[in-house]
Structures are given as structure tokens and as C-alpha cells.
């Protein structure tokens, strides 16, 4: 292969790869949370802690506030399902679990957690 053609091919390849890298960086940047999303996550964490303290009603309140700030915050729905499980309402838990599944299926760790939660709900419903 002539050197000129080789150089051309390497350049094109580099451009393509570089564009891919920049694309990746841009995606990482877009993934940076907005102040509203951060506030929503803080409320989600509050909700999680309240659940750990066995206070599902207070937890639901924090999680509702978290949703009002960021309706796409999938973790909220997961913890809402947990809250309803604590309250013994499996059908509500199921509704929120299915929502959590919609939002968290692209996150490997969360996907597993949501799937386990779904199994737990099914098991308890029986």
C-alpha cells in the first residue's frame, strides 16, 4: 500500500476514533447532574435513610419531593416500591417497581436490584 494512502487511512481512522472519544466525553458531560437533579438525589438519599429507620411514610414524602424535582429519577421509584413493601402494600410496590425498571434498566447494578425487588414482590404477593 502506498505511504500516502496509508497516511490517509490512518488520518481518517484517527478522526473517526477521535470523534468517538469526543462523543464519549460529551456524553459524560451531559450526564453531569443539573442542580435540580442533585437536589432530587439528595431527597432520594433522605428517603433511603428514612426507610432504613423504618419510617416509610416520611420516606414516601421525601421521595415524592424528589420526583417533583426530577421525574426521571428512577431510584425514587425503586425506594417508593421499598416503602410500600414496608407498608405491606404489594400492589403499590409493584407499580413503582415497574416504573423503576423503566428508568433503571440501563444501569447494570440498579437493574439487578430492581429485578430482585420484583421477585420479592411476586413472592410476597403469593
Amino acid at each position: 500500500m502506498p505511504t500516502k494512502l496509508k497516511r490517509l487511512l490512518i488520518s481518517v481512522l484517527a478522526i473517526v476514533l477521535f470523534s468517538g472519544c469526543v462523543k464519549q466525553i460529551a456524553r459524560e458531560e451531559t450526564r453531569q447532574q443539573s442542580p435540580r437533579e442533585k437536589a432530587s438525589l439528595q431527597l432520594t438519599e433522605e428517603g433511603r435513610q428514612l426507610l432504613a429507620e423504618d419510617k416509610p411514610d416520611q420516606a414516601i414524602r421525601s421521595l415524592e419531593q424528589a420526583i417533583s424535582l426530577n421525574p426521571d429519577n428512577g431510584r425514587c421509584y425503586y425506594y417508593l416500591a421499598e416503602a410500600w413493601l414496608q407498608k405491606g402494600n404489594f400492589s403499590e410496590a409493584g407499580q413503582f417497581n415497574s416504573l423503576a425498571e423503566n428508568y433503571l434498566k440501563k444501569d447494570k447494578d440498579w437493574k439487578t436490584l430492581v429485578a430482585n425487588q420484583a421477585d420479592k414482590i411476586v413472592g410476597l404477593e403469593k
Binding site: 469526543v22 462523543k23 420526583i67
Partner: protein, 765 residues
């Protein structure tokens, strides 16, 4: 003879004594009955939701400052040192927060500095420890009180919580021998008698605190000897049956201490907040003396009425306290020099009256009306007062603009005026943030959001389109030519609003431009019964019938049901239960009722997204495109609606965070001579611009099950070659999307990837 008259007198005296004992026993039962039963009627209070603040949040400063004012924050010179203090300067606002007390959270007040960068919160810093705060919750606003006939407001205070200096101030003002006498005080009566004789007029009363309580609690305000006798007897009975502290506690919670508009301020708990904006425990010596001084003549010595008289009276109480040894000389000198600084107050009003009526209707299913005015319940709601005020203002302003623009819309009679209604909801939670049921509540209490039934017109069309999503795609072609339909033996010939419309249109175009003929064509292809089933599933209580006009929104619906149904599109197919009431707390702080968000899956997230995508088109290119000219520059999906002869004008618009429905019309069905885009849409835009704190500006999330294809705008068909001059991206349900175009050559693919990559970099925001 003498002996006889002595026996007679003794008998009479004995009989009188027996009479007094029997009467005293009767009174004893009365006192016991009154004291053991509920002593006071405490009105229930309705609270708004709390407000969340965080750095980076967009906020309109003026409404925010007005909110702080409604919450009772008052401007002070210098940095606020006490709860309720506020100082605003160029750098931002310094606030000494009140305590936050909700069924979910309790937090003591602290000083905070909120810095703004234009209309964005730059930072929130605790001023007592210098720490940054990432999320701050501001206490709820009191939006209404359920008063009984007496219109009394009261906050009960336990005697254990009343500071000693306050008790001393009251005793100094009213009855310094309270702990020495047994209900009536002969020394006090004698002293009052001498004082009054010396001045030749009634200058001093001899009533003890117990007598005052007996008078207020059991007797009419008449002044005669019999009543005075009853008062004395009751006082003795009360002293025999109850401890001094019990009597004092009831007295301090009972006494009348001023007037807040038409509402009486009773008891020291309420008075402490009314005059000084704080609980009794936090009152200073001079503040305690001010309130104690009011007992004699609350409206004469009120610091809100006559500051000089108030100060004079307060100082006389402080002097009396010093003379009894309850305060030192130095304390007297200090406190008599202190100015009387009041907290300021807002007269009880009924904020969000239509919302409160809607709430009251729900509450009456839980509580008796007499309980609401007496049990002192705290009712927590989802209302955002800033959104409520913005909705009321937008409706008022735009209805006036319409009347100015079209003189034919003006009506002389106030009950026939042009009307409007607005409801604002969070689609994911179902929280009702604002509800305006009409233009002027004082003129008409009819709630046009919850009580009216109006034809939705084209605002109903999304329910036709969602029914057809399994078989129709945005590029399916519909017939848009006039047709005649037979209904119950009569002919029905729908028309398009635009006279010159295309004969064939795509599904997307039909919804964007609200083509009636194409929509009826779609409905007839889908079948009317499935559309009725969809509408019923979406929560409409309307008894729909399978008439073709169903597709054009000919059946009347309740606006609240329409707003709720649209929430399902905004919330990825989940329909929320509309929530106004969040919790009810009894006077002891126990939560006795809780309402959480409830949702129901109606359609798949992908179908909900498809409708949202079509309704985004309505706002970008169709009948709702005027929104862009009105300063709405973030992603909105929405639908206009106009009924026959312009009887109703609608606009329902939503983002992922918020949904608002606006209706404009006359109650009697007169034409408003304007479309939904002309009459209702401007109200929506005005409202949204006023509430930046509720809007994230985020775009709608594309869920799984949605694919995109390039469509050629010229023929509306999928792009298959490079010959298409105007390609555009279209969304499809994965299950009925057109096949992907054939793979292109390798070099072309590389460049496309390169261009896509660069595009993505610039589009990333």
C-alpha cells in the same frame, strides 16, 4: 316575740344557706361539666406545601419576597438576630428562619443567607456555622382557617410552658394576690371600693382572676348584683374543685387579647404570635408585660392601635412587677426603655378559595363540619401558593385583555362575565399545585375545574389517537375530505376549522393542525367503541356514546378529569390520582390521615411518548405554535381545543415536571369569538413564565420501545435514497415502525458517523 323573730331569722338564714349550698352544688356540676368537656373551639388550619430551595434554582425574586412576607418574615435593620427577621440587599436575602414543623419534618429555625445571581439562586449558606446548604425547605403557608361562628383564633399553651416572668406580669396586671386568696379577695374588693369612692367613679375592679374566668366562661356580660353573686359563688366553687395552676392555665388560654380583622385573638398563645410572632416561651419581659397589659382593654392598649398608650400601660405593669419584687430596679430601667416592636400581621383571608372548597369537600367525608371548626386540626396540602397566585393573575390579566380586544365579550352583569379556569398539576405525583375555579370567587363560587362539564373539543383528540397507535403511525395517511355520517337517523357533516386544508394528511399533521375531518376518518377506522373504552380507562366519568362526533370532543367532560387524563401522557403512561390533601394532624401533633401519591399504569411508556411527541409537534409546528412567540422556549407538549361556535377555548400543556389546563368560556355557552390558541394559550404562557421554580426545562425522555426513522418531508415517506431534499426524524413504536433503510456504502457510513458525532457534541447541553 324576740325569740320568735330570732328563730324565724335563723330559719330564713338556714334556708338561704341551704339554697346557696344547693345552688353551689348545681354550679359545681356546671363547672365540672364545662372543664371536663372540650374547653375551646380551635379552628382547623389549612397549610400549603413547603417550598424547596437549592443553588442553581431559577426563581422569580419578587414573588419569593412576597412569599416570605406572607410567612411573617419582617424586614429588620442589620442582620436578623431573631426568628422571622429578614434583610434584603444587593447580594441577596438574609433570613432568620422560623421553625419548620410538618408531619414529615421538624427543624429548628436558623439564620441563612440566600445569594442570587439575577433570578437564579447562587448559594445558600447557614450564617451560624458558615456551611453551604444544598437543599433548604421553607415552611408551609397558612392558607385558611376553618372558623366556627365565634370566629376565634387560639393556640393552646400548657401552664408548664409559660415562663415565670409572664405569670408575674399577668398577676401584676390583674390579681397579684392570686396565689393567696380563695377565689374572691375581700382585700382587693375593699381596696377597689376605697379607690372608686375616692375618685367618685369606677376606677378599679375587685375581680380576681378566678372571678374573671367565671364571668367569661359561664356568665353573660350583664352587670348586676345577682350576676356578681353568681360570679363570686362560681369562683369559690372553681377554687374548691381545681388547683391554682389549673385555673391560671384555663384563664391564660381563655382571655380575649385583641382583634385580627374580623377574628378574635384569644389566649396568650395566639396573642404571642399575633403581636410578636413567637411562642410564649420566647417572650421577653417587656413583651410579656405588653400582653399582660392588654387584658384590661385589648383594643385600647393594642400596639397596633396606639403605641403610646400600649407603652405606657406596659411600663405600669413593669413598675407593678418591680414593686412586688418580681423584677429588679435595673430590669425595670432596661425594659421600660425598650420600644414595643410588633411582628406585623396579615388579616386572615381565604387564599386559593376554590382549592380550599375542593379540599373541604374531601374533608367533610372524613370529619363533621363542627369538628373542622373546633378540633384545631392542621391540614397539609399540595398547594404551591406562588403557582396559585401566578395562575390567578394570569387568568385575570388575560381575560381582561380578551374583553378589551373584543368588546362583544363584555357583560354588565357580574354573574354573566367571561369566565376562565386553571388547574396546575405535577403529572408524576398528581399533586395539585394550583386551582382557579373562576374569575372572581366573591362573585361566583362555582368551581369550573371540578364542578363544570364542558365540551373539550379538539382537546379530546389525543384519546382518539392513542387508541389507534397499534395500527397507525405518525406517517399513516388519513382522508381529510368532507364526509357525511348518519347518526340516529340524522346526518352529521363535520368541517375543518381551516377552509382550505389538504385532502390527505398524515396522522402527525392531522393532530398538529387539529384537522377534524382526518380525525373523524381515523376514529371511524379505529372504531368508536375502542375510543370510548380508552376514554373510560383514562378516568372520564362521562357517559360517552358511539357517535362520530365523539372524536371531536362533543361529549362534555369535567376539566379536572381532562387534566388528570393528560397527566398519563406526561408521566410515561402512568395516571396519578389527583392529590390536594396530604395529611391531617390533630392538635397533639398526631398524624390522623395521610395521602400518598397513587398511580395506575394505563398505557406503555412508548405509547405515552408517541402522543407526547405528536403534541410536541402541536406546539412546535401546529395550532399551539404561538407559545414560541410568548417566551416559552423549553420543550412543551400541548393541545388546543375550540368547540362549536367558539363556546369553549382550551389549552392543555405539559413538560415532564408540570401540567396546566386552561379553559375560557361563558357559563351560559355564549361564543367567546376566539380559539383555544387565542384565548387559553396566552394564559398558560403567562402562568408558566411566572413560576420558573417549578420548571426544569428538561426534554421528554425517550423510553425503550421507541425507534427513529428518517422521513422525507416532501412525500411523508421513509427516506430510502439520497434524493430527499428535506429529511426529518420521526419517532415510531418499535413494533410498527417502517423497515430500516438498506445499509449504505462503507465510506458514506464513516462520514455519517463523523457528522453524527460532531452533531452530538454540539447538541449536548
Amino acid at each position: 316575740m324576740i325569740k320568735k323573730s330570732l328563730i324565724f331569722s335563723t330559719l330564713i338564714l338556714l334556708m338561704a344557706l341551704i339554697g346557696v349550698i344547693i345552688y353551689g352544688w348545681h354550679l359545681s356540676g356546671k363547672v365540672e361539666g364545662r372543664f371536663s368537656s372540650r374547653r375551646w373551639s380551635i379552628p382547623s388550619k389549612v397549610f400549603s406545601d413547603t417550598m424547596l430551595l437549592y443553588p442553581g434554582q431559577h426563581i422569580n425574586q419578587k414573588p419569593f419576597q412576597e412569599k416570605l412576607d406572607r410567612l411573617g418574615y419582617r424586614k429588620v435593620s442589620g442582620l436578623p438576630k431573631k426568628k422571622g427577621g429578614l434583610q434584603t440587599n444587593r447580594e441577596g436575602t438574609h433570613i432568620f428562619l422560623y421553625d419548620l414543623k410538618t408531619p414529615w419534618k421538624k427543624r429548628a429555625g436558623f439564620p441563612v443567607h440566600i445569594q442570587f445571581d439575577s433570578n437564579t439562586i447562587k448559594s445558600i449558606v447557614r450564617e451560624d456555622n458558615g456551611k453551604s446548604i444544598s437543599l433548604l425547605e421553607i415552611e408551609p403557608e397558612e392558607i385558611m382557617l376553618f372558623f366556627g361562628r365565634e370566629r376565634e383564633s387560639r393556640r393552646l399553651v400548657s401552664i408548664q410552658k409559660v415562663p415565670e416572668h409572664f405569670i408575674h406580669a399577668v398577676l401584676a396586671a390583674e390579681d397579684h394576690r392570686f396565689f393567696q386568696h380563695w377565689g374572691i379577695d375581700p382585700r382587693g374588693i375593699l381596696r377597689a371600693l376605697i379607690t372608686n369612692l375616692r375618685h367618685g367613679a369606677i376606677r378599679q375592679g375587685g375581680s380576681t382572676i378566678t372571678q374573671q374566668l367565671a364571668k367569661n366562661y359561664f356568665l353573660t356580660p350583664d352587670r348586676n348584683l345577682v350576676r356578681k353573686f353568681q360570679e363570686a359563688l362560681l369562683a369559690i366553687v372553681m377554687e374548691l374543685k381545681y388547683s391554682k395552676h389549673e385555673i391560671l392555665e384555663i384563664y391564660l388560654n381563655e382571655i380575649y387579647l385583641g382583634q385580627k380583622g374580623s377574628v378574635a385573638v384569644n389566649g396568650i398563645g395566639e396573642a404571642a404570635y399575633f403581636y410578636f410572632g413567637k411562642p410564649v416561651q420566647e417572650l421577653s419581659f417587656s413583651e410579656a408585660a405588653t400582653i399582660a397589659g392588654l387584658i384590661k382593654a385589648p383594643n385600647h392598649y393594642s400596639p397596633y392601635i396606639d403605641k403610646t398608650a400600649c407603652r405606657k400601660r406596659r411600663n405600669s405593669i413593669l413598675t407593678a412587677m418591680q414593686s412586688r419584687g418580681w423584677i429588679s430596679d435595673a430590669q425595670l430601667q432596661t425594659h421600660t426603655k425598650t420600644p414595643v416592636l410588633t411582628a406585623g400581621y396579615t388579616i386572615y383571608g381565604k387564599q386559593a378559595p376554590y382549592f380550599v372548597d375542593y379540599l373541604a369537600q374531601q374533608l367533610t367525608t372524613l370529619y363533621q363540619p363542627e369538628d373542622l371548626v373546633s378540633l384545631g386540626l392542621s391540614i397539609y396540602t399540595t398547594l404551591d401558593p406562588q403557582v396559585q397566585i401566578a395562575a390567578e393573575n394570569a387568568l385575570r390579566k388575560e381575560l381582561s385583555r380578551l374583553e378589551k380586544k373584543t368588546a362583544a365579550l363584555k357583560r354588565k352583569s357580574s354573574d354573566k362575565k367571561l369566565q376562565g379556569a386553571v388547574i396546575v398539576m405535577q403529572p408524576k405525583t398528581g399533586h395539585i399545585l394550583a386551582m382557579v375555579g373562576g374569575r372572581n370567587y366573591s362573585k361566583s363560587q362555582f368551581n369550573r375545574i371540578t364542578q363544570s362539564r364542558r365540551q373539550p373539543g379538539s382537546a379530546f383528540k389525543p384519546f382518539v389517537y392513542v387508541t389507534g397507535l397499534d395500527t397507525f403511525t405518525p406517517i399513516t395517511i388519513l382522508s381529510n375530505v368532507p364526509k357525511t355520517y348518519k347518526v340516529d337517523g340524522k346526518t352529521w357533516a363535520p368541517k375543518n376549522f381551516e377552509r382550505h386544508s389538504k385532502k390527505q394528511v398524515s396522522v402527525r399533521s392531522a393532530l398538529e393542525n387539529s384537522d377534524n375531518l382526518a380525525t373523524v376518518d381515523l376514529a371511524m377506522q379505529i372504531g368508536l367503541q375502542p375510543i370510548i373504552e380508552t376514554a373510560t380507562r383514562f378516568g372520564f366519568s362521562t357517559p360517552f356514546k358511539p357517535y362520530p362526533s365523539l372524536a371531536l370532543g362533543a361529549f362534555e367532560v369535567i376539566p379536572l378529569e381532562l387534566a388528570r387524563a393528560y397527566c398519563a401522557f406526561a408521566a410515561g403512561g402512568m395516571m396519578p390520582f389527583p392529590l390536594g390533601l396530604k395529611a391531617v394532624v390533630d392538635e397533639n401533633g398526631h398524624v390522623i390521615e395521610r395521602r400518598h401519591l397513587k398511580i395506575e399504569r394505563l398505557i406503555s411508556p412508548s405509547k405515552a411518548f408517541m402522543i407526547t411527541s405528536l403534541l410536541r409537534g402541536v406546539v412546535k409546528n401546529g395550532t399551539g405554535r404561538a407559545l414560541g412567540n410568548k417566551g416559552i422556549r423549553w420543550p412543551v407538549a400541548g393541545k388546543t381545543g375550540t368547540t362549536n361556535n367558539s363556546r369553549d377555548a382550551w389549552f392543555i400543556g405539559y413538560t415532564p415536571d408540570i401540567l396546566a389546563l386552561v379553559w375560557v368560556g361563558f357559563d351560559n355557552g355564549d361564543s367567546i369569538k376566539a380559539t383555544g390558541a387565542q384565548a387559553a394559550l396566552p394564559i398558560w404562557a403567562e402562568l408558566m413564565k411566572a413560576i420558573p421554580h417549578q420548571i426544569s426545562h428538561k426534554d421528554f425522555r425517550v423510553p425503550d420501545g421507541i425507534v427513529t426513522r428518517m422521513i422525507c418531508s416532501d412525500d411523508g415517506k421513509p427516506v430510502v435514497s439520497q434524493n430527499c431534499a428535506k429529511p426529518r426524524k420521526e419517532f415510531f413504536l418499535a413494533e410498527n415502525a417502517p423497515p430500516e433503510p438498506r445499509p449504505q456504502g462503507p465510506i458514506q457510513g464513516v462520514f455519517e458517523k463523523l457528522i453524527e458525532g460532531i452533531k452530538d457534541i454540539f447538541n449536548a447541553d
